[in-house]
């Protein structure tokens, strides 16, 4: 058995993991980032939409190399074809840029390396190491060889799978109500408008939606998300997208360049994301926006906060749960209110029928696309008070 030792170990080199590694290493502690796959950023399992206004916070400089497209607005289509336009400033954390994730993820990992982090590929964890009531690293394999990596702090950034957390005894299991299964083609030779990220809602995608995120003039990520409770036969997610595509004249000539599957969590925030020696970030901490399914921004922000806390803990020689609460408090202060509000909205939206979608999107379409979020919500609450009644006070807070 090979043995390694580090101060901070990050499991998973997606955006959350790389950001955590960058901020830990930058703050002067030994940092190791491990990735199961042979290539960071591949295979892509993402619709690749992201907001524009988070990069400064995470010290990421915009690079045209990983931006495929910069749409100016989101279009939300009702089942009857009514379309509401929402300008990017108001469209939430999935609209602004359409990324090249394969390149974006590599860029973030490269930033981590430049800050001093080490990276190991084809290295996975199979369990955590427990010592004196704390998590002290992981055991797994690296290039086929058994490996033990001892660390003062382990940052679990292993995505939707969220296995490291569960090995460590943190409850990240979610029920089918809070899981959306997804399937996407990258379709070329289609009619699409690169000025818009399009969302289609209706009974063809119960508890989710169909997205068309442009990656160029005649190419887009076209995918579907369906709440797991609405899936009743094997392969239903792909079958639903295929059925939807068959009814779209603009996509008739489309041909796939790749296909990806996946799942996203749409739960309300977990009650606990740290324990002695371990912190969870991004999808592994179930920090996906429950309404849109967007996860990259929250992964980056939580990764940054976890990396900073990890470095502070190591320097202080205190990796206890009570010290790591600093991270838990920081991400809650930054993200929790919005996550709860969006979870409540999602609980409502997941129950809407086609007729309700038609009426709501009609209302939205009558509001100025640059109107503030508040005006949008006011317009909805005026005509459809039942939709916002339960969480009205959160909206105005």
């Amino acid at each position: 058995m090979k043995t390694m030792e580090t101060d901070v170990l990050v499991v998973g080199a997606g955006p959350g993991g790389s950001m955590a590694a960058k901020f830990a290493a930058r703050n002067g502690v030994r940092t190791l980032l491990i990735e199961k796959r042979q290539e960071i950023g591949s295979p892509v399992r993402c619709a690749e939409g992201i907001a524009r206004d988070w990069m400064e916070e995470c010290d990421v400089e915009k690079d045209p190399a990983w931006i495929a497209c910069a749409p100016e607005a989101a279009r939300i289509f009702a089942p009857n074809g009514t379309c509401a336009l929402v300008h990017i400033d108001r469209a939430g954390n999935e609209v602004g840029f359409v990324l090249e994730r394969a390149l974006f993820d590599k860029a973030l990992a490269r930033h981590a390396a430049q800050a001093g982090a080490g990276i190991l590929l084809k290295t996975h964890a199979r369990d955590v190491i427990r010592s004196n009531g704390a998590i002290g690293g992981v055991v797994g394999k690296s290039m086929g060889e058994d490996i033990e990596i001892r660390a003062q702090i382990t940052i679990a950034a292993d995505g939707f799978e969220s296995q490291v957390a569960r090995w460590a005894g943190l409850e990240t299991g979610i029920t089918a109500r809070d899981i959306v299964a997804t399937f996407q083609y990258r379709l070329c030779n289609i009619e699409c408008d690169s000025r818009y990220c399009d969302f289609y809602v209706g009974s063809f995608a119960p508890g989710g939606y169909v997205w068309v995120f442009p990656k160029g003039r005649d190419i887009a990520n076209v995918g579907i998300g369906v709440q797991m409770t609405q899936l009743h036969e094997p392969g239903a997610t792909k079958a639903r997208l295929d059925r939807w595509l068959a009814g779209q004249p603009g996509f008739r000539k489309g041909q796939p360049l790749d296909m990806v599957g996946g799942a996203v969590s749409t739960n309300k925030p977990l009650s606990k994301t740290v324990a002695s020696g371990i912190m969870l970030v991004g999808d592994a901490a179930r920090l996906i926006n429950p309404l849109t399914g967007g996860g990259i921004v929250n992964a980056c922000i939580s990764g940054k906060l976890a990396g900073e806390t990890a470095a502070a803990a190591v320097k202080r020689g205190d990796c206890s749960e009570s010290f790591l609460q600093k991270y838990e408090k920081a991400w809650r202060a930054r993200l929790e209110k919005e996550l709860i509000r969006n979870w409540m909205a999602k609980e409502k939206v997941a129950r809407l029928d086609d007729d309700a979608f038609n009426r709501i999107i009609q209302t939205l379409s009558e509001v100025n696309p640059r109107a503030s979020t508040l005006s949008l919500l006011l317009a909805i609450s005026k005509k459809h008070p039942e939709l916002v009644a339960d969480f009205a006070e959160l909206l105005w807070a």
Partner: protein, 75 residues
């Protein structure tokens, strides 16, 4: 549970949806089911392309309904 590797996209949806953390995705090539698997079938439901079958070779989804997230196995 068995995986049809000719269909599997290695996306990891089954891993995250497994209530007993009993599925492991080896890099990009193999799905492993651990002895702790209860054959509840949630992984077969969440799999976007229908690559997971119940051990007897019968599609797991046909023996299972979901109500409020609780798996229910039909006789």
């Amino acid at each position: 549970m068995i995986v049809n590797n000719q269909i599997c996209l290695h996306c990891g949806a089954c891993v995250g949806a497994c209530p007993t953390n009993s599925v492991f995705l080896h890099e990009t090539c193999t799905i492993e089911f651990l002895p702790t698997c209860t054959e509840c079938g949630l992984c077969a439901i969440v799999c976007p392309v229908g690559a997971i079958l119940e051990t007897a070779g019968q599609p797991a989804a046909s023996i299972l309904t979901l109500d409020n997230g609780i798996p229910e196995v039909r006789p």
